[in-house]
Symmetry: C3
Subunit: 294 residues, 3 copies
């Protein structure tokens, strides 16, 4: 798979100053023919996990050959490696190898991984700048890859793809009719919970559209939510203001309030310590604490 002239940028820089525009300028100066786009620049500062998630949310919707440049880099100046990888889906990602590739490595797969040799792959005259690798190294290298001026061998030496840095995580599992999963991330704008339980695993519960699911959520072992919720296809299967279990746009199980904010309503966050369990139930009220109407 060769690159296709498109670069998609992600960072935690925000858009209020000139940092992102400087990266764009560097890429545009490498080749004015490149097509430059954003994933997001509003990753919470230093939140590598969320950067990893936003990649899995988007990468495969772009054409193979697209180059992603992701810069969430609390360790600039440490010995974390700078890499360019090729995924099994034919996409390129240029990033610090600090966990940003966690979801992509686990769900898509990394085919090749090369360390960026900065002696070659660094913006000219930037050798006195040590704090903005996003502009000086990542945008520059991503743009040269996308423009076909270098290929992965030109990026630097090959490293084992299997040693890509990933965060530890517990896969969802089904036992005795109960799925245990975690709240992978919040759909921040709408406050929905996006779990790491895929549609196919959930299907094994035998829950049909309109059936009820017992949902319980714990944080560090403490129960913070427990109710029977209707399983629907889309939000309109329940009334405005009612809660719903559904399959989200990444085909994982989600929990939401129709036109409301589930996370804020129940003070729920995301991460491996936010555990969620699903169990088929006969209807609302079958679980003692279940009084949510829908």
């Amino acid at each position: 798979m060769t690159t296709n002239g498109t670069v998609v940028f992600q960072s935690d820089f925000g858009l209020v100053d000139g940092a992102v525009s400087a990266m764009y300028g560097v890429a545009n100066a490498v080749s004015p023919e490149l097509h430059l786009f954003n994933l997001t620049h509003d990753i919470p500062q230093f939140d590598i996990w969320e950067a990893s998630y936003r990649l899995i949310q988007t990468v495969e919707y772009w054409a193979p050959g697209t180059v992603f440049v992701s810069v969430v880099d609390p360790g600039v100046g440490t010995d974390r490696k700078s890499v360019a990888v090729l995924t099994d889906s034919g996409h390129y990602i240029v990033t610090p190898d600090n966990g940003t590739l966690t979801h992509v490595a686990q769900k898509i797969g990394i085919a090749r991984r090369h360390e960026i040799e900065e002696a070659e792959n660094r913006l000219q005259d930037s050798q006195h700048s040590y704090t903005f690798h996003g502009r000086d190294v990542y945008a520059y290298t991503g743009a040269r890859l996308a423009a076909g001026l270098i290929n992965l061998d030109g990026v630097g030496p090959s490293l084992p793809a299997s040693e890509t840095v990933v965060y530890p995580s517990t896969p969802p599992h089904l036992e005795n009719g109960v799925i245990e999963a975690s709240v992978d991330i919040l759909d921040v704008r709408y406050g929905s919970l996006w779990t790491n339980c895929p549609r196919d695993l959930f299907a094994e519960l035998g829950v049909k559209r309109g059936d009820y699911v017992a949902v319980s959520i714990t944080h560090h072992g403490r129960t913070v939510y427990g109710n029977d919720l209707k399983y629907g296809q889309s939000f309109s299967d329940v009334n405005v203001g009612a809660s719903i279990v559904y399959i989200n746009s990444l085909l994982n199980v989600g929990v939401a309030i129709n036109q409301g904010n589930f996370a804020r309503a129940h003070d729920i966050g995301a991460g491996t310590e936010w555990r969620i369990r699903f169990q088929k139930t006969v209807g609302p009220g079958a679980t003692p604490s279940g009084r949510e109407d829908s």
Copy 2:
């Protein structure tokens, strides 16, 4: 009018996660030659009225043949129709037909309206996703229209343009020297009121630059503001901090504080229940409550 290879996106998704980028990816994968731009993605959640207004604020500044994709869709999964329309100005808009076309229908006019036939016009392999029509249906269809891969007949069956869904609204009118209008929207960043009173109607009051206008604002019938304000051409016609009546960039009457925030200063919102009246007056103080200096 054929499409021109340009797509302009609007939504209430925000830019903090990957939703907008996934839509861009879908469009770019349809054709890498498309030019992709934003209107805004910060429409307040589910605020169809504001989505409608932002379209009328921008559509005609883009070249005819441009395709707009607007996704503010509280009713995803309900029986609201998905449509693509051609306006009398030669622009295309792909959107849920839920009121988003209100201002465009009333001020520009809808020439053709076609329902999106989802069996044909849906991102491949997205049939298990029911919650993100912005990505799976609207971005995909808008991109294919813009790239010339389909035309309106390829979108789906023709529907009567005259039955486009619009919100009810009261047109501004002049009677006995008094204009009654409504505050259509706030210029949110600056806190100016943008009314639905056009420049031509206001001209019938015979107010000249430098003259005074009696302005009164009511909300559900309660008076929340009443003052005589100077009518100026641009903000600099009054001192910093003084209020002004002026013609805004859409050639409607606006009310603002020069370098201040009129809406916040007087707790004023927007919508059909925020009524505003304009009357010619002889000067500041002629109206009993008028003590605003300028």
Copy 3:
């Protein structure tokens, strides 16, 4: 230097309404072949100084021939001039001449300066709109320059480059082993202080990586901070949560907390009245008030 078909926009309009998209539409309608990008649209309202700084932060990372359109314009309608300038680096900037060019004039230099003749250079049929020069004059003129439809002579009459409007500022200076400078701007997202002291001047102190620097900050003469801080190459030279003096990405001296927010921690702002002094010191604690560990 001829223009290269690229326009980069900056404003204080924000991205929540349709103002920026209307500017893009005007430029795209001038020529669909133009490449359109953003610097930022989140300049604080009417903050000309910050607009000036964001230009110096980015301009030279874009290819020569790029046209910048910067619209922070509290004086729309006053006698401030509208200009297009060519910098000594070969970049074009279209802007109100109200101080926005301060840093570019001082650090890059202005080669040519032309006043925009609005009779020629104004969006067709926009003559009744007096409040949105960003759309009607600046975007339109910038796009026509970038597309090669006009050159600087076509913009309007030449004005002396030396009379470009700049804000007064005190250059940093070194005396008796003490550098006195000012906090030019905050790196808002991370809360780092970016001073106007260049790397070369700081080098004269003879401070090496790992050495300590006595840092004191005053506001209108009152001392608000005083400590000995380590001088490092990048944030990882100090522990997470520790403060550091470093060379930022514009090769000026910065002060930061590694993964923290220095400005918020110590209530520090930016501007000419925020003075900062640097002096070589033997180590932490050598200055009486110095107890910051790192």
